[in-house]
Symmetry: C2
Subunit: 292 residues, 2 copies
């Protein structure tokens, strides 16, 4: 049970967490802080939060659970603001899409609170953003990755785990390094690749002709290109090394396909497409079995 | 009204067309021909077709509407087989994803039937294939592009148009050249890009670790990588020049993003991602308005 939950950054992620916890009665009061006053007013009106705090520093006063839900580039600034005001017993977590950079910031800016700062990343999101898109079911059946620190109190990890399980999520632990390497490939790269296609077409003089004929394959491929630009800029920069390595590997693979098409090597192309199609179908079946 | 419809290649596309026309009573008898006897038996049992023909040449005998629904690489072979048996009044069309190559094959192999061969491309599909996936609603609300030839009888074009409208589709005309250029960008490229990501990850020793953590963004981005490998090999080769040009443009764009990440140029990266995100959201709104 959380008595006073501070959500720092009341958008899709933070707002949905508040709604999920409220619905199951796992929280008494939700305090919200963030950059946009209109957004906070909307969150208050919609019952996502109960109290608006003027600053992050004020929001954490008396809070027993604090969730940093800003884009990862904003984490150091928020940590810096809240450090002096943290209750000694408060548990902290975050929803950042990258973990090594958040951990590094916490080591620098929250050195006295490392026992109770449990880094996390819910694998949920949408091509929409802002509190208006928040809903209590966002995390149901989704995975939440925690990357606990060696310094963490077991009780703090357990509280964060229970909070996410209370939202219907499945909780798993990894190292921050493994997390960032894996998600560079399966999340950060596809996002940048989808942004790249939209940017390429949008920049053409006759872009309207292309967009008009784009169908359901294009729709799904580019869905994540509608995501929050600031969030993904921060992710790409925070996980720069792994993201660049994945982009290089992907560009190489595309270039190989380009060469097979250019030289009309149908057999080799068939081999590549068959392996990919087979892997995609296997993946879909495994995901179905694990109910994700 | 179609008296005898010959479907050459009874898969997802041809099977769904037969089911849609049967449901609305627009066809009397459907004859199917194709490479796989098991597939044809299944189509017969499921009521997708009424008669199995042992060859394409036999299937077209007495047919007043003939639909070539094989992968585009198979079109010349089918045209060659059916040419001697075509009824003088039969109207022909195809569902190939590329048009210039199909038109070129028809000019060579069906020179006496160009007045009644109306090339077409329904913009519908799925990551599943085969007649087992066929359903009567596949074309409802979807676009069908026709690329009529200068030689076409107006009446033949009108019959093909009415057939597709009877399936609930919207019919539009373009030149084969425009068609292939536009679909290289909005369809062929995204398919190859999705295949490339699946192939890249499937080839890794620890691919299981990556696939296990892939979420809904990855799911949508790679959905079309589950598509029919032979069909897409044929499309890439048939539309080679435009596909290579699109791959080059896409690789360039990815490389620019890679450089912005690598040099940590957050402002320029933000500009690219914002433009892409804005374009994607605009596109989604336009598509919603046009009910697609």
């Amino acid at each position: 049970m959380i008595r006073r939950l501070a959500i720092l950054g009341v958008g899709l992620m933070g707002g949905s967490l508040a709604l999920a916890l409220k619905r199951t009665g796992l929280v008494e009061t939700v305090v919200g802080a963030g950059r946009g006053r209109d957004n906070l007013d909307l969150a208050l009106k919609a019952g996502v939060i109960d109290v608006i705090a003027d600053t992050a520093a004020l929001a954490v006063q008396g809070a027993d659970m604090i969730v940093l839900a800003v884009p990862v580039g904003g984490m150091p600034g928020v940590m810096d603001q809240i450090a002096p005001n943290l209750d000694d017993r408060a548990v902290l977590t975050d929803v950042g899409s990258t973990k090594q950079d958040v951990v590094a910031a916490a080591r620098t800016l929250l050195p006295n609170h490392l026992a109770r700062f449990v880094p996390g990343h819910p694998i949920a999101g949408a091509e929409v953003s802002g509190v208006a898109a928040a809903h209590a079911d966002l995390y149901r059946g989704k995975d939440v990755i925690l990357t606990p620190l060696p310094e963490n109190d077991a009780a703090a990890v357990e509280r964060v785990r229970q909070m996410w399980q209370g939202c219907g999520a499945r909780v798993e632990a990894m190292s921050p390094e493994d997390h960032d390497r894996v998600f560079a490939a399966v999340s950060h790269l596809p996002h940048l690749a989808a942004f790249a296609l939209m940017d390429e077409l949008a920049g053409r003089e006759n872009s309207e002709q292309f967009f008009r004929h784009a169908g359901s394959g294009f729709r799904d491929f580019t869905r994540i290109a509608g995501s929050h630009p600031e969030m993904w800029r921060d992710v790409a920069l925070a996980n720069r090394e792994a993201v660049v390595a994945e982009l290089d590997a992907y560009i190489d693979r595309l270039y190989r396909i380009r060469d097979l098409v250019s030289s009309a090597d149908g057999d080799a192309l068939m081999e590549v497409l068959s392996r990919a199609s087979h892997a995609r179908q296997q993946w879909a079946q495994i995901k179905k079995r694990t109910c994700r």
